[in-house]
Amino acid sequence: MSQSKQARAPKILRRRTRRDDLPEEIVLEILARLPVKSLLKFRCVCKTWYSYITNPNFISTHLLCYNNNHDGGYVIHMPKATFSMAYFHLPHSQICTLAFDRTFETISEFRIPFTFESGYPSLVGSCNGILCFTDFIISKSKDVYLWNPSIRKFKRLPNTCLTQLSNVALGFGYDSQNNDYKVVRFSWTIAKPKPPPEVEVYSLSSDSWKIIELGISWRPNVLAHYFNYTLTFPFVIGHLHWMIEMIDEGGAQEGRFTSMILSFNVNSEKFKELPLPDDEGNCISKCLTSFKEKLALIKFESCVPPHSMLLCSIWLMREYGVFDSWNKLCVVPVESYPNFIGFTKYGLLLVRKWSQLVSTNSELESKDKSFLIDPETLHEKEISYIGNHIDNRFDIAAYMENLTLLDGENLVSY
């Protein structure tokens, strides 16, 4: 807003004309502080206001201005499908919960407004409150949706431009340089040894997919690869990240995986490999997530029997891209993968625990409890239980007031 002031004649010399007219720059400052629900209504005030509100520059100004001016934010909990759910054709509730991001107190509930062929959604990622979903069953995941719950609009992305879709992996990120949202899709052939994947990128501003080069050297003789879907693939410091664990011909005989962190710069659309920390420990699997806007690596190891817990070592890459900056933050025990929910925006770890209590009529009851753990001190705090007993697993994403998807092709309002 202040940039335009320098180009104009000195304020002291200009007189205001009509008494009742607020100058454009003030109207924009006021609009930027309004919730999206008001802005949706105020589009019909007049044509000028309509064009202010739908302008992409205003949309990004509003996103920053509105969400920064409020103390504490909101999160959405979305029920996560599981393989056993799909195998036994159990119903998926489709109900998401909106809650405060510090206390997790529920505010409201709403349904996921679109469905997938398999009946099970999978969250690809979230950026600035925009959610990206695909089908949980990877072989059926040709449908990708972008959803903005704050303005109740969603959009199905156009069809792929790849030759075939198999063994698909996706990522969702925000290009801050061009104010654009992008979806990345990999597809691997079934052939062995596996060649590098085909990759395509979708850009919201062009509403189209385009094929891009992987551009990095691929491991030879890869027989199989594996993604850990415990947590959504993180978008951190303008980059999307995937942890790929691969078995090559040599490793197959020894039962050995090699791991690779693939990072994608959403602005430049270039891939590179990031180094993993130098920890030789034997772990069952690893996955990536974000911790206070830094890249974090979680290693899951099993406890010494008879305990059946998982030990999660949390590593943090303190300086992005720098191998030496990998630092082990802490080790936290969890009961199983679904009980490791993820980090809140304040850097606390949300976990669930089963506990058995003796109730008032002396019966043994088992109950799910949710805890927030501070990774620096390992101090735990119980919070009100999230979700319901039907949905065992869930994803959390930040809820933000955002006008993205207000205008465009193939948008559905509900």
């Binding site: 304020k11 205001r16 019909c44 044509k47």
Partner: protein, 147 residues
């Protein structure tokens, strides 16, 4: 050092430089060496200028006491609509960021729950949509109008 500011109704205010330069506009004039004589502010009347200068003075005095400052700001901004608009325009003209921010937020809070028709009335805006065009926009997001 003291500066002299003249309101649109020709009233002269003597203010300390430290207080007056909270206004980026006045600050630029001082830095350009144009502040030796009385500085005319033809777009701010004396009533508004007095309020603005009170804001500026308190921001200098209470700079280190965040709680006291917040209490002051909350009380300051509880004014009627006409005064609020004058403050808004003055803060914009004089480029006083924190006052502009606070005043815009207050106006936003006031406008939040209004209908488009009420907005037009309050801000004196002419509706240039046809009834059909307006209806189409409403239909697109009916829930925003109804809930």
């Amino acid at each position: 050092m003291a500066l002299e500011l003249k309101s649109s109704d020709n009233k002269i205010f003597e203010v300390e430089e430290l207080v007056a330069v909270q206004s980026e506009t006045i600050k630029s004039l001082v830095e350009d060496g144009c502040a030796d004589n009385v500085i005319p502010l033809p777009n701010v009347d004396s009533k508004t200028l007095e309020l603005v200068l009170d804001w500026c003075k308190n921001h200098v005095d209470m700079k280190l006491d965040e709680e006291k400052l917040k209490e002051y700001e909350d009380k300051f901004i509880e004014v009627d609509q006409a005064v609020l608009y004058d403050l808004l325009l003055a803060a914009n003209y004089l480029n006083i960021k924190d006052l502009l921010n606070r005043a815009c937020q207050k106006v936003a809070d006031m406008l939040k729950g209004k209908t488009p028709e009420q907005i037009r009335e309050t801000l004196n805006i002419v509706n240039d949509f046809s009834p059909e065009e307006e209806e189409e926009i409403r239909k697109e997001n009916l829930w925003a109008f109804e809930e």
